[in-house]
């Protein structure tokens, strides 16, 4: 115990230093993005700006706004659909088990770990054939489909905690498959819906590989636009940093206000629940 008390100040010191290191990129983003153009020189990178200048945000916003909207059109329906699908699957796989349902579930789960490179070529051919290549609905379809494993897993784990006796008594009262889902499972899993929705929202918003291969120019979601912005030689660093902050803002806000649910989702994704 004495040893522990002795090392406490040391402990705080290490934690504070580490936290400052973790926050360093935030400092860089904020400081660089509010600098006027003539102060964004390489050697002054760490210095605070002498005057606040938000013009970089204006430029970044003009460049990224259409893509920001694309991301919203993508992420809202995709999140809603994949939560609904996951809830139904989780309900069936936890409360209506059948012979082989466990093996089926494991086979579904495998889809969550595959490198998506291994399905990209056929996926793009397929989307071209059904006319959804380079469209937001095409990306929605992709995210809903490849979101099935994780959302199913999360809901199945939630529903595993709802006792069978509850389902049984509902059955005795004459409730069927859908009524039980609607009147028992959904109301009891509202926090589950929040966790899954936040998880899918964050993942789809941040996703890059599908976005960059399935869409071009005016259909591109925000992350592709940000990458293009930073790849271009003529765009100044202050605009790039402002763009990075704009692109990160929605998921950052979700984290700041609903971080508890975000971390729950994170833990739920490690298969065991």
């Amino acid at each position: 115990m004495a040893l522990r008390r002795l090392s406490k100040p040391m402990l705080y010191l290490i934690l504070i230093v580490l936290c400052l290191l973790f926050l360093m990129p935030v400092y860089v983003i904020l400081v660089t993005s509010v600098k006027p153009l003539d102060q964004v020189t390489l050697s002054d990178m760490w210095k605070l700006p002498t005057a606040l200048d938000f013009s970089s945000y204006q430029v970044a916003f003009e460049k990224l706004a259409p893509n920001f909207l694309n991301s919203l059109y993508l992420v809202i329906p995709a999140t809603f659909l994949s939560a609904l699908l996951g809830a139904l699957n989780g309900y069936v796989l936890s409360k209506w088990r059948f012979k082989g349902s466990e093996i089926l579930f494991t086979a579904i789960l495998f889809g969550m770990f595959i490198p998506y490179q291994s399905i990209l070529i056929p996926l793009i051919q397929f989307l071209r054939n059904i006319g959804l290549y380079n469209t937001i609905p095409g990306l929605i379809l992709v995210h809903v489909v490849y979101g099935i494993p994780i959302t199913t897993l999360m809901f199945r784990n939630f529903y595993a905690n709802i006792p069978f006796s509850m389902i049984e008594s509902a059955k005795i009262d004459g409730a069927g498959f859908l009524r039980i889902f609607y009147y028992i499972m959904i109301p009891l899993s509202l926090s589950g819906f929040v966790v899954v929705a936040i998880w899918q929202f964050t993942n789809i918003w941040n996703e890059f590989l599908f976005a960059v291969t399935i869409t071009t120019s005016d259909q591109q979601p925000i992350m592709v636009a940000l990458q293009n912005l930073s790849g271009s030689q003529i765009v100044q660093w202050n605009v790039q940093m402002a763009g990075a902050l704009l692109a990160a803002l929605p998921t950052l806000l979700v984290y700041i206000f609903l971080g508890k649910y975000f971390v729950k989702g994170l833990l739920a994704g490690s298969v065991k629940g």
Partner: protein
């Protein structure tokens, strides 16, 4: 667990409801299967069907803009095993994976133990260490590219101490041994990418370990202390072995992220000079969608999939087996 029939005193209505419920039950089961079916079909096509299709492409001659499905056997794979870029990718992935997982594990474990000491402001520390996980790898890449730019960034500080690392532009290979076409060793440039990846993902192992530590009772620690164990021994001999399942989970999940990594490297450094920061994910993307070498790209994808499967399949089977007995 399936619908135990409740015994009731009044006989005849029971039999009636029993029959009714049996009918109802099978109808409900059909409904349940019907609702599951679309997802099963989608996964069957989009995961398994498409993997099969990619495998087929990887054995074909489709290395131009026009699809050509004539069978060439393992030609594309053999090409990769003699390809300077792919061999560099393999080396880089091995080095990146080892460094990335090692640091994330140790940092996560140590920090979780620190945060578990009932310290003040624990939630603030936790939130700061977690937040990068809410960001996109693309955002991380863009920002760290600026911070680790050799002519700006942290070098402005380091210069004062007389060190000026080249970060991701460094083409040196540490402990490099010429082996065939490539220099086997640890590319210095990878360190820059590892720093960015560690910054983003440490929160994950920290969250996992914290959840694990919360599940260990204080009595256990107290008992070990009573037996005369020092604080270090309590953790080393009692707590860390108890956390082993979490360590395994973190390793597996980090390994699969690391083996398929694409966006961070693509947005931060790209392939790099002499492919010092290239990885299979970037190569696959560029050769397939920029170079139209579809069959080569498919072959890279299949190799990536098999590597991930080596970790994931046993993990899934074992953790599912342990889980299916419960509830």
């Amino acid at each position: 667990m399936d619908s135990p029939i409740v015994v009731e005193s009044n006989a005849s209505p029971v039999i009636k409801t029993k029959l009714k419920r049996k009918k109802r039950f099978s109808m409900d089961f059909t409904l349940a299967l019907l609702f599951l079916l679309p997802s099963v079909i989608l996964i069957a096509i989009f995961v398994y069907g498409f993997i099969g299709w990619t495998g087929y492409v990887s054995l074909s001659n489709w290395n131009t803009l026009v699809p050509d499905f004539s069978f060439v056997g393992l030609k594309n794979f053999l090409f990769l095993f003699h390809d300077f870029r792919f061999l560099s990718d393999v080396r880089n992935t091995v080095v990146f994976t080892i460094l990335f997982i090692g640091i994330v594990l140790i940092l996560g474990l140590v920090l979780s133990i620190f945060l578990d000491q009932k310290i003040r402001g624990e939630a603030i520390f936790r939130n700061i260490l977690f937040f990068p996980m809410a960001l996109s790898f693309v955002v991380t890449g863009v920002v760290w590219q600026w911070i680790l730019n050799p002519s700006t960034g942290v070098n402005l500080f380091l210069k004062k101490f007389g060190i000026e690392p080249l970060w991701y532009t460094d083409t040196h290979i540490l402990a490099g041994v010429k082996l065939g076409q490539i220099e086997v060793g640890a590319p210095v440039a990878i360190i820059a990418v590892v720093i960015a990846a560690v910054w983003q993902m440490t929160g994950f192992s920290l969250a996992m370990y914290l959840a694990g530590l919360r599940g260990i009772s204080d009595e256990l620690k107290e008992a070990a202390r009573m037996d005369g164990a020092t604080e270090f021994q309590v953790y080393w001999k009692v707590i860390i072995p108890l956390l082993r399942p979490i360590t395994v989970s973190v390793i597996i999940i980090m390994a699969h992220i690391s083996l398929k990594i694409f966006d961070l490297i693509y947005s931060m450094t790209g392939p790099g000079a002499n492919f010092v920061t290239d990885v299979p994910g970037v190569y696959m993307f560029e050769t397939t969608f920029r170079g139209n070498f579809y069959a080569n790209g498919a072959a890279i994808a299949i190799i990536m999939l098999l590597t991930v499967a080596i970790f994931i399949v046993p993990y899934l089977i074992i953790s599912r087996r342990g889980d299916s007995s419960g509830s």
